[in-house]
């Protein structure tokens, strides 16, 4: 397994570089190697040595990151367990993944009834980063994402999947080097964290994390400015929070500014581009099921950008991914028409963890040019233009049927935003007490008279797309992945 050998080589070649900056404390790669080896030694001495899947309590410290690499050197997989998540959810995940051992750096143990290996305060052993023999099919991690039915779904990712991703990431030519300073803003339960620590580690660059008690967006700004960060992958929600303060932000050292996880609006991107005047800004896309991300679009500072309803395109397939767009019956749609985006390739998971029913619904096989290929249905509504750039139109399930008409909620959001001045909006379909579907609009602002906005909307949209109920909230709630929590907003109407 070259990937793990590459990790070993990079750490060993960059001993004097800073690997991490956590809460303003720097750790060199040599110190990191020591932490990794100490934890590795504890794993080797644990009672359940044959255990391939190990739980990891996700704290923001060097031991938690060291645990990930230690597990990988041993050819094992980690399952991130968030100490602040409800105990019941964590218990479900532990049971589903069959976890009997957990690595934890906390002072007070969070999970009981399993063997807990404490990863902080270990004695130093002689550094050894040589990995065991690992096959492509061995698991590197399982991330549990929220399932629509309320039970978390496990997405297992193999070392082969992860290698496929890293290989394709390298081909994007971001050229991360040992002088880069990279942001890692994600909870370790979200797979965007993986590239945020792995790309720097593979290149001897340093990683800047966010302490849990800090306010994310303002802390990110300080890291960017005080440490002159050069690489940052963020969710677009951060931009919405920072937008009122854009005139205070000037980060000329930022080289690469990536966005993923949510629709990236063009207008905010244009304003952001002035805050990071020398950065290449890219919009990357992909679900956890296809290993972190798998398509890429580069924002054009000088000319025209491809958008749909004000949202930037998600661009072209990365090296190891093939995308297609299909209709309800899994048939390819003609070029230029819309349908559900489906993914295949080296990055694609083998399927949800022990969930045959869900796998049948989400994966299918299709003959493409004489080859039988397995695809994953993303639930994302897309279209491809003549250049091969994919445009994101919205979620298939954000499509609502109102009075028999097909309604794309992102379209309503686009026109509502255009009618308002820099106010964020979310359009939702909800079922009212007479079981009809209505459209609700939530505005992230103080209460005001919306008559004027509705008048504008009526000039842009057919009557059945005009929101029938409007709510105001001071701040959109976010889920633990930092995305707008649409489910919570929907509760306002139910």
């Amino acid at each position: 397994m070259n990937l793990i050998l590459d990790i070993q080589r990079s750490i060993e070649n960059n001993y004097t570089n800073n690997a991490f900056c956590i809460n303003h404390v720097h750790y060199t790669y040599k110190e990191f190697a020591q932490v990794i080896t100490n934890i590795r030694s504890s794993i080797q001495n644990a009672s359940n040595q044959d255990e391939k899947i190990v739980g990891l309590i996700t704290n923001d410290d060097i031991y938690t990151y060291g645990s990930i690499i230690a597990l990988w050197l041993e050819g094992k997989a980690y399952v991130p367990i968030h100490p602040d998540f409800p105990e019941e959810r964590n218990t479900t995940v532990i049971a589903q993944a069959g976890i009997t051992t957990i690595l934890d750096s906390s002072v007070e143990k969070i999970i009981h009834n399993v063997e807990v290996i404490s990863t902080s305060n270990l004695s130093d052993v002689s550094i050894d980063l040589t990995p065991v023999t690992i096959s492509d099919d061995d698991l590197a991690y399982i991330f549990f994402t929220s399932g629509t039915t309320g039970t978390p779904k496990g997405v297992p990712i193999t070392y082969g999947n992860l290698s496929g991703f890293i290989d394709a990431f390298d081909k994007l030519n971001y050229n991360i080097s040992s002088t880069d300073r990279c942001l890692q803003m994600f909870e370790l339960t979200f797979d965007l964290s993986v590239i945020s620590y792995l790309a720097p580690i593979l290149n001897g660059a340093s990683i800047y994390t966010i302490p849990k008690e800090e306010i994310k967006y303002s802390y990110i700004f300080e890291l960017m400015e005080d440490y002159e960060l050069t690489f940052a992958l963020m969710v677009p929600s951060i931009l919405h929070y920072l937008r009122p303060y854009f005139d205070e932000i000037d980060c000329p050292k930022m080289r690469l500014s990536l966005f993923c996880g949510e629709a990236l609006p063009l207008d905010v991107t244009e304003e952001w581009a002035k805050c990071v005047p020398n950065a290449a800004i890219t919009n990357v896309y992909g679900p956890t099921e296809c290993t972190i991300f798998c398509t890429e679009y580069t924002y054009n500072r000088e000319g025209i950008n491809k958008t749909h309803n004000g949202v930037l395109a998600i661009g072209k397939d990365m090296q190891n991914t093939t995308t297609i767009i299909v209709d309800d019956e899994n048939k390819l749609v003609p070029k230029g028409e819309q349908g559900e985006l489906c993914l295949s390739g080296a990055q694609l998971t083998s399927g949800y963890w022990k969930n045959e029913e869900k796998n049948k619904a989400s994966f299918f096989n299709l003959d493409i040019e004489g080859k039988n290929i397995r695809f994953y249905r993303t639930g994302d509504l897309c279209t491809v233009d003549e250049d091969g750039d994919i445009l994101y139109l919205g979620r298939v399930d954000f499509q609502a049927k109102i009075q028999g008409f097909r309604v794309e909620l992102s379209e309503i959001e686009f026109h509502a935003k255009a009618a308002l001045d820099k106010i964020n909006v979310v359009a939702l379909a909800f079922v009212n007490n007479i079981h009809n579907t209505e459209i609700g609009l939530v505005l992230e602002t103080k209460t005001f008279d919306t008559k004027e906005m509705l008048e504008v909307l009526k000039t842009k949209l057919p009557h059945y797309m005009i929101p029938t109920q409007i709510k105001f909230v001071d701040t959109f709630p976010l889920n633990t992945n930092g995305k707008i929590d649409r489910k919570k907003l929907k509760e306002l109407f139910e």
Partner: protein, 79 residues
């Protein structure tokens, strides 16, 4: 403005956002000590303070707000 006067205003803001007054205002008080004061309500509290006292926090100010005492100090420097 006197610290005591600012604290009085802060109390009004907290009560209006959190819908309770189960807290004492002392300098070492942190968000963790107050029911419902999480990252989301924090943003609402900040906005309400800005409106109520007619001030505007800088991004950098937001990271300095470690406890009630530092909040009062940051506000005092702005009035």
């Amino acid at each position: 403005m006197e610290a005591s006067e600012i604290k009085e205003k802060l109390k009004e803001v907290l009560v209006s956002v959190l819908n309770h007054d189960r807290f004492e205002l002392y300098d070492e008080l942190t968000a963790k000590d107050v029911d419902g004061w999480d990252s989301l309500s924090h943003m609402m509290i900040i906005t309400k303070i800005e409106e109520g006292l007619n001030i505007k926090f800088k991004l950098r100010d937001l990271n300095k707000l470690k406890n009630l005492g530092s909040l009062v100090a940051v506000i005092q420097a702005k009035i």
